[in-house]
């Protein structure tokens, strides 16, 4: 079976999106992909983070457990799973808002399936809304699909 690489990039303050990212990573591993988990660094100022003890505590823990995305990740990856909490914009306002909305639409099932399919074909997959009751299952399936789609793309391009 051909090796495929999946990068799961996420941003999480208190650990909820981290759980989705972990589930997506497990899904990718189930799909027999190599994975890298990357947490986007916080852009909020220290005072803001310190004002939320849960954020501060989890940030310290997550900074130990995950490194930030590296330039070499993009060259390594066959697929990138983007994990940013739906409806939030705490990474960069434009990017976060956009991906957050996509995630929310995917999560409630009303999303544009063609858009979703084309994003998956392109190797960009957005995690579901963490508020959905089956969010972890969805995230795992997304991760698995990311691996399988990447493998199928590899087979097509190298064939």
């Amino acid at each position: 079976m051909q090796d495929v690489n999946v990068v799961v990039v996420f941003f999480s303050r208190t650990g909820a999106t981290e759980q989705l990212a972990l589930a997506a990573a497990v899904g990718a591993v189930q799909g027999r992909a190599n994975i890298r988990l990357r947490r986007l660094p916080d852009v909020a100022d220290e005072a803001t983070i310190a004002g939320n003890p849960q954020w501060k505590e989890n940030r310290e823990r997550m900074n130990k457990e995950y490194v930030a995305p590296r330039e070499t990740d993009a060259a390594w990856a066959d697929a990138i799973v983007i994990g940013i909490a739906a409806g939030t914009d705490n990474v960069s306002p434009e990017f976060g808002a956009y991906t957050g909305k996509i995630g929310a639409v995917f999560a409630d099932g009303s999303g544009n399936h063609a858009l979703r399919a084309s994003m998956e074909r392109a190797g960009l997959i957005v995690l579901p809304d963490e508020r959905a009751s089956d969010a972890l299952t969805q995230a795992r399936l997304l991760g698995r699909r990311a691996a399988e789609a990447a493998r199928s793309r590899r087979a097509t391009t190298s064939g």
Binding site: L22, A25, V26, A28, V29, L37
Partner: protein, 236 residues
């Protein structure tokens, strides 16, 4: 036949935050002559600096056993298991269809010294699972304590792994000995974790390993003024 793998011949890595010795090929250390022994794929001896560790990473289809010699290790995984383990407790994780986990030194002051063991499972796609087995220090003193084995080996007193392999730990005083019989067609591996031991008269120092084939009766003895602590693997 007993083939000794000397401590200093092992692969070595020291990126600053950990000092690791690899009995078999691992990560950037690759030696085609040392890819494992039977189903035993990895024995890494790691000393990890306070507060440091292995960030989130994934495994699939591997039985992973951690044996702590000194200090404490904090474990966290995608099965929502969060634990801190120390000496006289083993952690056994079946990665099966896929697990993401991290392992960190739980102390901000003391290093953690451990053996990390990987055994290739006999089956693919097992349900991922995590087990911790704690035992009294006396359980391994002057005798062999079964840490892990296939289903039905020892009730709940040892971890279940998806392979026809048994892992024992023992601590022997100087001159003290234990005997072990390998079944027909079975193989063994001995890894000395501390002190010095002898196996059928051959001396093993701390960090040495011994591959055993075509031998049935083993006599393992404490062969150092401080005695010996070692792991014994009974392999198909």
């Amino acid at each position: 036949m007993i083939t000794i793998r000397r401590s200093n011949d092992r692969g070595h890595a020291n990126p600053g935050w950990r000092n690791s010795w690899y009995s078999f090929s691992f990560a950037d250390y690759h030696d085609a002559a040392h890819m494992g022994f039977r189903s035993l794929r990895v024995i890494n001896e790691d000393t990890i600096a306070p507060g440091r560790g292995f960030g989130a990473h994934a495994h699939r289809d591997m039985e992973i056993i951690t044996y702590i010699l000194e200090g404490h290790l904090a474990h966290k995984d995608s099965m929502t298991e969060r634990h801190v383990i120390g000496p006289n407790t083993i952690q056994a994780m079946s990665a099966g269809t896929g697990v993401v986990h991290s392992e960190f030194n739980a102390s901000e002051n003391e290093p953690v010294h451990l053996l990390q063991i990987w055994i290739e499972p006999a089956m693919e796609d097992a349900e991922p699972s995590y087990r911790e087995i704690s035992f009294a220090p006396e359980d391994k003193r002057s005798k062999l304590k079964l840490l892990a084995g296939p289903h039905g080996s020892d009730g709940n007193a040892s971890a279940v792994i998806h392979q026809d392999a048994k892992v024992y730990a023992s601590e022997l005083r100087p001159g003290e000995a234990v005997n072990y019989s390998l079944g027909p067609g079975r193989f063994g591996w001995v890894q000395v974790a501390r002190g010095g031991a002898s196996i059928n008269g051959q001396h093993l120092s701390q960090g040495d390993g011994a591959a055993i084939s075509d031998e049935r009766e083993l006599t393992l003895a404490g062969n150092d003024p401080d005695g010996a602590e070692f792991l014994l693997f009974d392999l198909a």
